[in-house]
Symmetry: C2
């Protein structure tokens, strides 16, 4: 794509647009109940790599998405992601005090507020997406259904449940992959799909290609997470490093070792690129995002 | 409505149909992650008065609802309600060990599972509703948006947040009413609306009438809850009685006294009936549900 802006510029522009859209799609901090709304904004705004919105916008560009619909899809996915972090950080789950370099919500507020913030953000995600006007209603219903499936027990929540049950167990590589495909992969995948569907209907071949791309980057994302968790410090990551190993949770590094994990991430990056071949030059941003996910340092 | 079945028979039939539909709309207990799915079914099946499904079905009958769509609307509302109970019962909220006469989810399982069950049930509610096929997509999008609004920070979660913040405060009757209109009223209201919209579009006058009906029964529901909490024992209620007073939470009984609270409930019942006047004889089941809500003993 000759004449395309450098990836870094594109990424910054999309992150800024995401921040602006999230701000607009969250209830104002002075609206009653003000403490809840303030905590929702604390949770969502001003941090995070915005990987899911980046995927939605990149995919949206490829499929000529309606500007409002793709922003809503991006924000809905990010709100689901943000709520999951709030609940994961709670004492009954990972009991983490630091997230994105800030005190976690139950530390900054209290546990009851953290619980409600997560619950309200999930509802807010569906409210935001259901408010799209630039998409044919039948397609929007599909998008809402896909988001619900990705968030629920057959997706993110299911992956969390398997993760909880696997503490102290020795998982096979296949079981670990299955867990991550649900826990992280489902929401990354749906971010790609929602961005595309904000543009137009997809045929079966396009759906397959996007799903294969999403599968590869989803796994790559987790492999790299495990590598970083084993090699970087908490200050760099903005969250507690070495936590999975300390909690005796199986990781790619603990199963495969460090160097093979890095090689796997690189292999997945190539698979992601190959999956995008049918879309040609136009898939530039999705290719660059695969590179970002594998090459990131935090 | 001459020839209509006695209310008790109608109610039992709807409850049975709700139970059957909930069973069908929940993931099977042996599907991975089995513990999560089993706990979701423990939460939702085999208990509860099913007030929200009763309202949805009653309203659906009045507006000639599609059978699948009204069942999905009823189950979606019940799943949101059920998830809210699971999270409310957790130690960081009300810390309750008994619900519907059974151990609460975090007691029967553990806190992390209770958190995930609630999260997954909220997603499941949207997934179930978004799967409706007998409703025009544009109307279904409206239904999904209304459900999200009722569940979120402008509805149920917002009411919870106000409730938390009001412990130990002396609320005015107006503030108490506002809190309950969000905490309980929003989901009762949307149950009525979703049932109706599963039938057809509503005009402004019909929407106003249903909203006024829902306002009255929503408040009546809470007033009666407070009366029962002050007068019945835990075994009768299937949950811990006298809890609000013990927690120094404002209630209708603590603000108005017992006899005026009972009089208010009766007044709200009459208002609910009056709101239904435009619908004539056909609104029989909604009238009977208003009576049930005020006259119930648990």
């Amino acid at each position: 794509m000759s004449g395309a802006a450098p990836f870094g510029d594109w990424m910054k522009a999309v992150q800024a647009r995401t921040e602006e859209a999230l701000d607009a799609f969250l209830p104002p901090a002075d609206l009653v109940p003000a403490k809840l709304h303030e905590a929702m904004r604390y949770t969502v705004l001003g941090g995070g790599k915005r990987v899911r919105p980046l995927l939605a916008f990149a995919s949206g560009e490829l499929f000529g998405a309606d500007a409002d619909a793709v922003a809503r899809a991006a924000c809905a996915a990010e709100m689901i992601h943000a709520y999951s972090l709030v609940h994961d950080d709670m004492p009954c789950m990972d009991d983490d005090a630091l997230r994105r370099g800030k005190p976690t919500v139950h530390v900054a507020y209290d546990e009851a507020t953290a619980l409600l913030v997560g619950d309200a953000l999930q509802a807010q995600a569906f409210e935001v997406l259901a408010g799209s006007t630039g998409v044919a209603p039948a397609r929007l219903v599909t998008m809402l259904r896909l988001l619900a499936e990705a968030a629920g027990s057959g997706g993110m929540c299911g992956g969390q449940a398997i993760d909880l049950d696997s503490v102290g167990l020795s998982l096979s590589l296949e079981q670990l992959e299955r867990m991550h495909q649900l826990k992280t992969g489902a929401m990354l995948r749906v971010s790609v799909l929602l961005g595309a569907l904000a543009g137009r209907e997809l045929d079966a071949a396009e759906l397959r290609a996007l799903a294969e791309y999403a599968r590869a980057i989803g796994l790559a994302f987790q492999v790299v997470d495990d590598v970083l968790d084993a090699t970087e410090d908490s200050a760099t990551l903005g969250k507690t490093a070495g936590k999975d190993a300390a909690a005796n949770k199986p990781t790619y590094v603990s199963i495969l070792g460090l160097a093979p994990s890095k090689a796997l991430a690189e292999q997945l990056r190539r698979q992601a690129h190959e999956a995008l071949a049918p879309f040609g030059e136009q898939a530039l941003r999705l290719r660059e995002l695969a590179d970002l996910i594998v090459q990131r340092k935090a």
